[in-house]
Symmetry: C2
Subunit: 208 residues, 2 copies
DNA sequence: AAGGTATCTTTACGGCGCTTAGATATGAAA
DNA sequence: TTTCATATCTAAGCGCCGTAAAGATACCTT
């Protein structure tokens, strides 16, 4: 657990403690898992007193919110990259794979993201409006591949259905029960592909 | 928060403290939510000392496991009931609706169930073998409706895909973002139906 | 230079999971 | 029936946690 600066060199005023705390939290999350993510541990990791974070975050939940938000942004980027880099997949499948791979590669972060969402009973606020959010990307890709943009309810339903499938798979993929399936299919990636294949992700599959 | 027996009437040896603790935990869970579910609070609710639970559970996680297990059993029963009571739905849809309704009606319990699963990185142990588990019920229903039972991998994939969809919807349904969709569709139930309609749950939809 | 404000530290409170040691009841062996 | 090992419970305490209050320190404006 390294600190941003050597302990004795840091001035009394940190400079950007808020940033440093979020970074420290992500470092801890990666290294020790979600259960090790206490406010005090984050403060320790950042080299400040246990009370210091309260000048930048109302409480622990607000710190975790900041961490979660960064997670959503990274997820959006990775999905955007996956859509751009054509891998010979249907673009919706490519998005789904990118989503699930993000969850596999950042399990602790993914958990913090949805823990925060469940607590507030909502996904990040701008999700359905921010053009480069993961959610909007799915919806836009639906349109690009033939979904009727004027059938708003139906478009939203298709997006939700795809989102549900991706999130469901992201959680299931971590369970030992399905290891044998991955092996039989010749790898995790093939497993993801196959499960998505069993879901009706594509608007063209439905008579709209 | 009532106790099982009035405090002074309880004998030194409780009789069935293990049972009482699980019940107390479920009562607390229902009343105060998952965050209020501390071992000490459960012990208080059951009217015993904070250390008493350790004679029946190795640690807090083991208590929560017991609570979660009851959750999975109840879920299995409710899905079984839903399958038996024909509501004019495709039986797989009926199972999915029952799954999602369970999560809606027992959000805290549902959360404990999956928190435990994520911690152990596996769903309850016998899930894929116990004839009346929710999971096996889905798989069997797939077969009853035309899935090829000898195509084992494909059958498993279809079951996983349906499970992913149901779990995904169960989590999304609690988010405020989708309230307007429920309203536009004329209710929660219609929303569930519509989302499932956008997923390829039925084996007959795929060319196997 | 002075004073206000933002930032950080110190200290402290109650609650938590869990451990240890001791009290009490049960039930099997003598 | 007495004995005594065992199971079950309580009491006390450890280190951790989230958070609040009050004081110290540095920065910023005037």
């Amino acid at each position: 657990m390294s600190e941003a600066k050597s302990a004795e060199s840091r001035p009394y005023h940190h400079g950007d403690l808020r940033r440093a705390l979020v970074d420290a939290a992500r470092r801890l999350l990666e290294a020790e898992g979600p259960s090790a993510l206490s406010l005090r541990a984050v403060a320790r990791e950042a080299g400040v007193s246990p009370a210091a974070p309260y000048h930048h975050f109302k409480d622990k939940a607000e710190l975790l919110d900041a961490v979660a938000q960064e997670g959503w942004e990274i997820l959006g980027q990775q999905m955007s990259d996956a859509k751009a880099a054509d891998q010979g997949l249907h673009q919706l499948t490519a998005l789904g794979i990118a989503y699930v791979c993000f969850a596999r590669d950042n399990p602790a972060l993914y958990r913090v993201m949805y823990d925060a969402a469940r607590d507030k009973e909502m996904l990040p606020a701008g999700m359905q409006d921010n053009k480069d959010s993961a959610y909007c990307m799915v919806r836009d890709t639906m349109i690009e591949h033939g979904a009727d943009p004027t059938a708003e309810v139906d478009l939203e339903l298709a997006t939700v259905a795809a989102w549900c499938g991706a999130h469901g798979l992201a959680e299931m993929a971590g369970f030992k029960q399905f290891e044998h399936l991955k092996e039989q299919l010749g790898g995790e990636r093939a497993f993801f592909d196959a499960v998505f294949g069993h879901m009706g992700l594509f608007p063209s599959m439905h008579g709209h």
